[in-house]
C-alpha cells in the first residue's frame, strides 16, 4: 500500500483543454490526440447505442409506459463512451440519477435497462430501482443511485478496498456539476488525496443543476480546480469530444493504477433534454434556449460520425441498422417480461433473509400475499 502522506504533484496531467461555455463550431479533428481508427469506430457505436436507447426511453416516458423519473443522457454520450473505454473490466463504475449512459457504455444489457425502466422483474436491478438505480456487476457497474453525490464516497471506498487488497483496479465515479456543491464531495477529495486512492472523479459539467444555470449557483466557472485545495489534480476537457475524453481518462486511470492517486476530470457538455423526462426545459435557468441551439451544433455523436467519414469509414449505416435492431429486440423482450410479484415487496430488506424482516402488520402481510 502506498504511503499515506506526501505531496501530490499538481502538474502530472497537462492535457487540459479549455473550452468556452458556448461551443465553437464542430471541428473534425478535435483534440489532436491519436486514437486508433478502429477504436474511434467502437466509441461511435457506443455513443449511438446510448443515443438510441435514450430516445426509446424518452418515448416510453412520454407514453406513460415508463413511470419512474428518467433523466436522459442525450447530448452527453461522449463522456460515458470516452471514460469507460479507458477502464478495464475489473474496474468499477459508480453513478447517479443520470446514468443510463454509464451503464450502457460499460456494456450493460439493453434489455436489462429497458426492463428496469419499465419496472419489470427482469430489470438489471430486479425491478426495484427503475431508471435511477442501476446495477450490473457483471460489467462493473457497482451502483448508480440518485442522491446527489451519494456514490462518490462509495467509489472512494471501493478504491480503498482495491488498494488494501493490492489489486490493480480503479474506481470511477461519474457526477454532475451540481454535485460539487455537496460538502462531502470535498471531504471525499481530501480522503482520496490523503490515501492516494485509485479513483477517477468524472464531473460532467452540463452547466445546469436541475433548473439552475451554474452562474446561479457559484461565482467562478472553474470546476476542474475543485480538488486543488486537497491535492487532487484536475483537468478540463471538451466533453463532447470523445477522443479528448478518452485521452484524459486514460492518463488519469494510468496515474491511479500506478499509485499516483485520484484525478478530477471536468467534461464540459450539455444535455439536450430537460432535467428529467423527455422535454427540453426551455423554461428554466438563464440562457438555456440560446445555449441549446449552440450545443446542438456540437452534437458529440454527429461530430464523431463526421470524423469517421472524414477518415474514410463508409459503412456506418450497417452499424446504425444493427443498433436499431438490437434496441428493438431488447425493448420487445423487456415489454414482454413480467412485473415483480406483489408479494416480493417485503423481500431483500435484509440480505439472505428471504422473507424480509418480521412483518409489523401480520394481517396486512397476509393480505398482500393473497393479492
Amino acid at each position: 500500500m502506498a504511503t499515506f502522506i506526501g505531496c501530490v504533484m499538481l502538474s502530472n496531467l497537462s492535457i487540459a483543454v479549455e473550452t468556452e461555455i458556448r461551443p465553437a463550431r464542430p471541428a473534425v479533428q478535435t483534440s489532436g490526440i491519436a486514437v486508433r481508427r478502429a477504436e474511434l469506430r467502437v466509441l461511435w457505436r457506443t455513443m449511438l447505442r446510448i443515443r438510441r436507447a435514450e430516445e426509446c426511453i424518452a418515448e416510453l416516458a412520454e407514453a406513460g409506459q415508463a413511470r419512474c423519473p428518467c433523466h436522459l443522457y442525450i447530448g452527453q454520450e461522449a463522456v460515458a463512451a470516452g471514460v469507460c473505454a479507458a477502464l478495464r473490466d475489473q474496474d468499477s463504475v459508480w453513478g447517479g440519477h443520470r446514468s443510463h449512459g454509464h451503464y450502457l457504455a460499460r456494456g450493460g444489457s439493453l434489455e436489462g435497462l429497458f426492463a428496469e425502466v419499465l419496472g419489470k422483474a427482469t430489470g438489471c436491478s430486479g425491478g426495484r430501482g427503475g431508471s435511477m438505480h442501476l446495477l450490473a456487476r457483471e460489467v462493473g457497474i457497482l451502483g448508480t443511485v440518485p442522491i446527489v453525490a451519494g456514490t462518490v464516497p462509495l467509489a472512494a471506498g471501493a478504491a480503498l478496498a482495491y488498494q488494501l487488497r493490492g489489486e490493480p483496479r480503479v474506481a470511477c465515479a461519474f457526477f454532475g456539476d451540481g454535485t460539487l456543491e455537496e460538502g462531502h464531495m470535498h471531504e471525499t477529495m481530501n480522503l482520496a488525496a490523503l490515501y492516494r486512492l485509485p479513483l477517477l472523479l468524472v464531473c460532467e459539467n452540463n452547466l445546469y443543476s436541475s433548473h439552475l444555470h451554474w452562474s446561479e449557483r457559484r461565482v467562478l466557472d472553474n470546476l476542474h480546480r475543485a480538488g486543488e485545495f486537497h491535492g487532487v489534480p484536475g483537468v478540463r476537457v471538451d466533453g463532447n469530444d470523445v477522443e479528448a475524453v478518452l485521452a484524459a481518462a486514460r492518463a488519469a486511470a494510468h496515474r491511479a493504477r500506478e499509485g499516483g492517486g485520484p484525478t478530477l476530470i471536468e467534461c464540459r457538455t450539455f444535455r439536450f433534454r430537460g432535467h428529467v423526462g423527455p422535454s427540453t426545459d426551455l423554461d428554466v435557468g438563464v440562457k438555456r434556449r440560446d445555449a441549446l441551439d449552440a450545443w446542438l451544433e456540437h452534437d458529440p455523436l454527429l461530430r464523431c460520425e463526421e470524423c469517421l467519414r472524414a477518415l474514410g469509414f463508409e459503412d456506418l449505416d450497417g452499424d446504425t441498422a444493427s443498433v436499431e435492431q438490437e434496441t428493438g429486440a431488447a425493448l420487445a423482450a423487456a415489454e414482454a417480461a413480467p412485473f415483480p410479484e406483489a408479494a416480493r415487496v417485503l423481500k431483500h430488506v435484509w440480505s439472505s433473509n428471504p422473507d424480509g424482516p418480521y412483518s409489523p402488520d401480520g394481517a396486512r402481510r397476509e393480505a398482500l400475499c393473497a393479492r
Partner: protein
C-alpha cells in the same frame, strides 16, 4: 368559503406571511423553478424578489445551517427541502443545533425556524425518493412537528409554524397537493398540538396522520355501511400531539387504530399506541391496531408499490379486527408471531469467517 388546493393553500400562506412579516424569507432548492415545488411556491420569487426567495445550491447542510443562524439573528426563515430524503444531509443543523439552542443557553435564545420537508413518493421513484421520516424528528426534544392533511390546515399550520418561537418541522406530502377544500382568505393560525375531529363516532377511534387521515375518513365511510360508527381524528401535530383529544376519544370508544404513513418500528404509531395502551388501559377493549408502511424501503415497480402503500381498506379491516376482539374474545385473535432473529447467512467468502465454535451463553 372559496376552495383552494393543498398546494395553493401552502403558496398563499407563504405569500401572506412574506407580506405581513419582513423577517420571513424562504431558502432552499427549487424556489425559482416553475415545477420543482409542485406549485406550492409558484412565482413567489417574482412577487417578493430573489433576495427573500433564495434558490440554493445543492448544499442541504449549509443551507439549513444558514437558516438556523438567520433565525438566531432575528429572522423567521422557512428552509425548504423538496424531499425529506435529501434532508438527511441536514441532520446536524436540525438535531444538534436548532433543537438544542434554547435548552443549551437556558432559554436565552430561541430558534424561530420552519423546516419544510416535502414527502414525495410513489410514481416508481423508489427507496431514496419516498421517505417519510417524521418519527426521527418526533424523537428529538426541542423540535415541533406538524403534518397537515387538508388545505385549510396546510395554510394555518404554516402560519403557526412561522409564529412559533421554536424550530418547527412542517411536513407536507405531495399526495395531498391536488386535494381541494375550503380555505379562509385572511391569514390565520391552526394551533400546533390540536387534533381535529373529522367525524364523530362511538365504536372505534381512527387516528390518522397526513394522507392517512384522509384514508381513515374513507375507512369510516366503509365501516358506516356495516353499521360501525367510527370516530376519526386527524392528528395534524405530531409533537406535541394532542394526547387529551386522543385519550378522550379512545376512552369513549374502547378501540383504536393508528394510521401512520411512516414505517412501523419506532414510528409515530408506536408512540401513540404505547401511550393509549398505558393511559387508557382500563378503557381499552382490544389491542390498539397500527396501520403503517411495512418495515421495508419503498420499491419502484407498480406491482410492489401497490402492495407497499396502505389503503383505506387496511384501516377498515384493522377496525373490524379490533371490534371482533370485543365480541369473540382473545382466543379468536390471531396473535402475531415474530419470525425471530434471521439466521446468520452464508458469507461472501465463508473461509474467512470468524471462529464460531463458541456460542456464548446468555444467562
Amino acid at each position: 368559503m372559496r376552495a383552494l388546493t393543498y398546494a395553493q393553500a401552502i403558496r398563499e400562506a407563504h405569500a401572506q406571511l412574506l407580506e405581513s412579516d419582513p423577517r420571513v424569507f424562504v431558502v432552499g432548492q427549487g424556489l425559482w423553478s416553475p415545477w420543482y415545488a409542485g406549485g406550492s411556491l409558484e412565482d413567489l420569487d417574482q412577487r417578493f424578489g430573489r433576495a427573500r426567495i433564495l434558490d440554493s445550491p445543492v448544499s442541504e447542510n449549509a443551507v439549513t445551517g444558514l437558516a438556523v443562524g438567520a433565525a438566531l439573528a432575528g429572522m423567521r426563515p422557512i428552509v425548504f427541502h423538496p424531499r425529506m430524503d435529501f434532508m438527511l444531509l441536514a441532520m446536524d443543523p436540525i438535531v444538534n443545533q436548532a433543537a438544542n439552542w434554547s435548552y443549551l443557553f437556558a432559554g436565552q435564545v430561541q430558534v424561530p425556524l420552519v423546516v419544510r420537508a416535502v414527502v414525495n413518493r410513489g410514481g416508481e421513484q423508489g427507496a431514496q425518493h419516498s421517505q417519510a421520516l417524521h418519527a426521527f424528528f418526533m424523537h428529538v426534544p426541542g423540535l415541533k412537528v406538524v403534518m397537515p392533511a387538508t388545505p385549510a390546515d396546510a395554510k394555518g399550520l404554516l402560519a403557526a409554524a412561522v409564529a412559533d418561537p421554536n424550530p418547527v418541522l412542517y411536513v407536507d406530502d405531495r399526495w395531498l397537493y391536488s386535494d381541494s377544500g375550503p380555505v379562509a382568505e385572511d391569514l390565520y393560525i391552526t394551533p400546533i398540538g390540536q387534533a381535529a375531529v373529522r367525524r364523530a363516532g362511538t365504536d372505534v377511534t381512527l387516528i390518522g396522520i397526513s394522507w392517512m387521515a384522509k384514508l381513515a375518513l374513507e375507512a369510516a365511510q366503509q365501516l358506516a355501511l356495516e353499521g360501525i360508527d367510527a370516530e376519526v381524528l386527524d392528528l395534524r401535530s405530531l409533537k406535541p400531539w394532542d394526547r387529551p383529544a386522543v385519550l378522550a376519544s379512545v376512552r369513549k370508544t374502547g378501540h383504536a387504530v393508528v394510521a401512520d404513513p411512516g414505517w412501523h418500528t419506532c414510528g409515530a404509531s408506536a408512540e401513540i399506541a404505547a401511550t393509549i395502551a398505558q393511559e387508557a388501559f382500563s378503557h381499552l377493549r382490544a389491542p390498539v391496531e397500527r396501520v403503517t408502511l411495512p418495515d421495508a424501503p419503498a420499491p419502484t415497480s407498480r406491482t410492489e408499490e401497490q402492495a407497499y402503500y396502505p389503503h383505506a381498506g387496511h384501516i377498515a379491516e384493522a377496525a373490524r379486527r379490533a371490534l371482533r376482539w370485543r365480541t369473540s374474545g382473545p382466543d379468536q385473535y390471531p396473535e402475531q408471531r415474530s419470525e425471530g432473529p434471521p439466521e446468520q447467512c452464508p458469507e461472501q467468502r465463508p473461509e474467512q469467517r470468524p471462529d464460531r465454535r463458541r456460542e456464548e451463553a446468555t444467562a
